[in-house]
Amino acid sequence: MPYGPHATGDRARMLEVIGIDSVDLLFDDIPEVLRSGPLRLDPPESELDLSARLQMLASRNRTDLASFLGAGAYRHWTPAAVDQMLIRSEWYTAYTPYQPEVSQGTLQSIYEYQSLLAELTAMDVVSASHYDGGAATAEAALMTCRATGRGRVLVSRAVHPHYRGTLTTYATGAGLIVDDIPLVADGPSAGCTDLVALERLLADGAPVAGVVAANPNVLGLLEDMLRVGQLAHAAGALFVHVIEPVSLAVLVAPGETGADIACGEGQPLGIPLQYGGPYLGIVACREPLVRQIPGRLVGLTRDLDGKRAFVMTMRAREQDIRREKAASNICTNQALLALAAGIYLTAIGPHGLRDVAALGASRASELAAALAAVGAPRLHEGPYLNEFVARVPDARRVHARLLERGVLAGIPAADLLPGEPGLEDGLLVCTTEMTTPAEISRFASALGAELTVGAGSSGGAA
């Protein structure tokens, strides 16, 4: 066994103390008919062989393309200090800080995370933590139902489809109704949540517990969040503002839009893409909702001598205390990722975070201009930050062709939002501070070439 501690004779000594002569006797309580035979797995692999296998598998992934893919997970620069701190095993080989006297490191790091995210979102309370943006959004929706005693949630179709899917899965079990709020089809607000439809949905049908909308929305557009919040509140519903945390350095924060709950994906805060996880689900709320918030909370307190210290608190919401009456079943969470986000925000600082957001936006302006110049203008008119839909006829085919030219041209918008009208000719593309001007020109020239060829072969009908 590769990580076994025993010297010759150790096992025999242990058996002797127990008073038996074979470890098999310790498994006598498994009914004979239910005992399994040997596992049919490959033989153990040495560290050397295994490292080669892992390297081989990793090298089969292609991460060398000029990538304009975002859509809920973003490539950012992570200061080198972040991982150097995370790899300290005092962090990652500890568990839940049940014993505060020997867990002040983790406890203070969680308190700092709660505080940093509270500053970023301009909300009062942040729980630490949830699985990812999808699960956080689902938990936020369930929270609106607990808080209002109502059983219906309205979700904008411009909330990430995977968050909506997760929310629907969670809501099915809880017996809640989830209704979509459609998007505006054309005009200056095309691609944004249809506020007229929202008003109608709030007026008709069962009373609404919560209204969920995202900013920037999944198409990269900026929503009138203040208005969404006003409409929700006028109907006695809570307003859930889905965030992208880096954008909050420059965009209106949930605390400014009247949001009762903020939720979203913390991955952009120093967490690697790693094919979808582990990520960081953010849930924040206003003070009056604190006893409804799911997930761990750490509070500042004192010890017997009056020394300042930190402790897990308001535990009566949690499953190990309240069992079937708990606010959520969450136990293991994303503490190490919350730590990563805390280190990231501390290392990058407020000016750095603003620069990250603004440089991404600046690159997006360059990309929009470059793509428009080769015949692929933006599909929507509304304001955006660093992600937008470019109008590209036959988007799926073009996307595949550009891949052959070493460009990952975002994602065909119709693949991300199947069935949403008007997106068949759209590529959802994204820039961050990592995007280089060279990559932008490579994308634009490859797309230009593709569109020219495409136009030629289809008789110039572009």
Partner: protein, 499 residues
């Protein structure tokens, strides 16, 4: 000397000074944000700390030193399987090919990861005796929710809408009943029999046409194999219900008992327990779920599929209409799964059986030593963990399990899980794992025996512990009554910072 660092740290907010820290990324051109309308811009000042990198690093290094961890000492936290976390696995998860892969990358760009995930599913199916596995759930509790939602979909697919109850033993993890509630079921709690197993008569009385599923932790949270498991499963299936196994304690039975083969319909794994992925101070974990044929159509989307040409792809949205749908944003906690994969490859089938053999051997050895000074309520071989009780000691001396736990800190150990399971008075749930040496086990047992002696001779010494830790016992009541959950004001004037 304290087992952890003793120097408390100021918060990052107290360390902040205007103008410090810069240079991580280029400055954007002036006017980069001019196209964003004023109404869409942030007005609230962004009061994040400004700290230069050397101070940031010192802060986090010094904070980390305040933690007890597996890599600094013995951590016998029952039910959590705090085993050694191999360093190769940390290296592997950070390989750029794995770490830099976007979750929406086209399948052709993700063949290495997809192959790893596909192989990992197959390995977990073999270990559990299940026919199919989803790797998606982010933790055990989410695995439970996924499993119970599949059970719900299964009954509904058969037109059976009356099954509204979930049967859960009273010794179960709190996540089981909490999951049942989240999935819209009513929890029926089944008492334990005197031998620690599920009371079969009470179980049979509760089982009926309204039972959707039973949730059994096996080995139980008492560290005991559920020896009437055959009868329980048979009765469950005879009643038309399904059986869920909480796999939190799988570390005890690898290569000895395969739940799917034995008749369980669905189970979750905790990779952060059994397969050594780090606990991370509370997470991340991963909670893959295995199912037998009847539940396979309901697995969450997307699954990893292997094409006839040997390539791999992710299932498309809506491709399998029977699916319960998505349970999370993207595929799964892939970074965690890479570590679990490496662990399984390093051990192979024979190594995994040795893991369980050594884990069970260590627990029984420690039980024999600890039993000299504390009650061990169940007089039979345990699996990977055991419950000891300080009830007798408390009646004699007033010293409680909590006090013993705190005194263990003075002696250099992380305490075991305490007051769980709820069915044993003054419980200590002790799980040594298979990666601890004989010397460590001996020394820990000696410390526990010594504390029992101290309780008899100098109880005040124990009830006032810990004496050598960065802080003494905390005022948890005030923390809950007047919660201070975030720093207010960046200057730190309200609360003096520790020096």
């Amino acid at each position: 000397m304290s087992v952890v660092g003793e120097k408390l740290q100021p918060t990052v907010f107290e360390l902040s000074r205007p103008g410090r820290g810069d240079g991580k990324i280029p400055h954007p051109p002036a006017g980069a944000l001019d196209r964003i309308p004023a109404a869409a811009r942030r007005a609230t000042p962004l009061a994040l700390p400004e700290i230069a990198e050397p101070e940031v690093v010192r802060h986090y290094v010094n904070l980390s030193a305040l933690n007890y961890s597996v890599d600094t000492g013995f951590y016998p936290l029952g039910s959590c399987t705090m085993k050694y976390n191999p360093k190769l696995n940390e290296w592997a998860a950070r390989l750029p090919g794995f770490a830099g892969l976007h979750p929406l990358a086209p399948d052709a760009m993700a063949q290495g990861t997809l192959q790893l995930l596909w192989e990992l599913e197959a390995m977990l199916a073999e270990i559990s005796g299940m026919t199919a596995v989803t790797l998606q759930p982010a933790a055990g509790a989410q695995g439970e929710l996924t499993g119970i939602l599949m059970v719900r979909a299964y009954h509904r697919s058969r037109g059976d809408l009356e099954r509204t109850e979930v049967l859960v033993p009273d010794s179960s993890h709190g996540t089981n009943p909490a999951t049942a509630s989240m999935a819209g079921f009513k929890t029926i709690t089944i008492p334990s029999a005197p031998d620690g197993g599920v009371d079969l008569d009470a179980f049979r009385a509760a089982l009926g046409p309204k039972t959707a599923v039973i949730m059994i932790t096996n080995p139980s949270t008492l560290g005991l194999f559920e020896s009437r498991i055959g009868e329980l499963l048979e009765a469950t299936h005879a009643a038309g219900a399904l059986a869920y196994m909480d796999g939190a304690n799988l570390n005890a039975i690898l290569g000895r008992f395969r739940p799917g083969e034995a008749g369980f319909d669905v189970m979750h794994f905790n990779t952060h327990k059994t397969f050594s992925t780090p606990h991370g101070g509370g997470g991340p974990g991963a909670g893959p779920v295995g199912v037998r044929e009847a539940l396979e159509p309901f697995l969450p989307e997307p699954r990893v599929l292997r094409e006839p040409d040997g390539s791999f792809r992710l299932e498309r949205a809506g491709e399998r209409p029977t699916s319960i749908g998505r349970v999370r944003s993207f595929f799964g906690s892939t970074g965690v799964l890479v570590r679990a994969y490496a662990y399984l490859r390093a051990h192979g089938g024979s190594g995994l059986r040795e893991v369980s053999d050594d884990a069970v051997l260590a627990a029984n050895y420690l039980k024999a030593l600890v039993g000299q000074a504390y009650e061990v309520p169940f007089d039979r071989p345990c699996k990977h963990e055991f419950v000891a009780s300080a009830a007798g000691l408390k009646h004699r001396t007033g010293v409680r399990t909590l006090d013993i736990a705190k005194r263990l800190i003075d002696k250099g150990y992380h305490p075991p899980t305490i007051y769980f399971p709820l069915t044993v008075e003054e419980a200590m749930l002790i799980e040594p794992t298979e990666t601890e040496s004989l010397e460590t086990l001996d020394a820990f047992a000696a410390a526990l025996v010594e504390i029992a002696h101290e309780a008899e001779t100098d109880p005040g010494l124990v009830t006032s512990a810990p004496h050598v830790a960065p802080v003494r016992r905390l005022d948890e009541a005030t923390a809950a009554r007047q919660p201070n959950l975030r720093w207010r004001g960046v200057t730190g004037l309200e609360t003096p910072c520790p020096q």
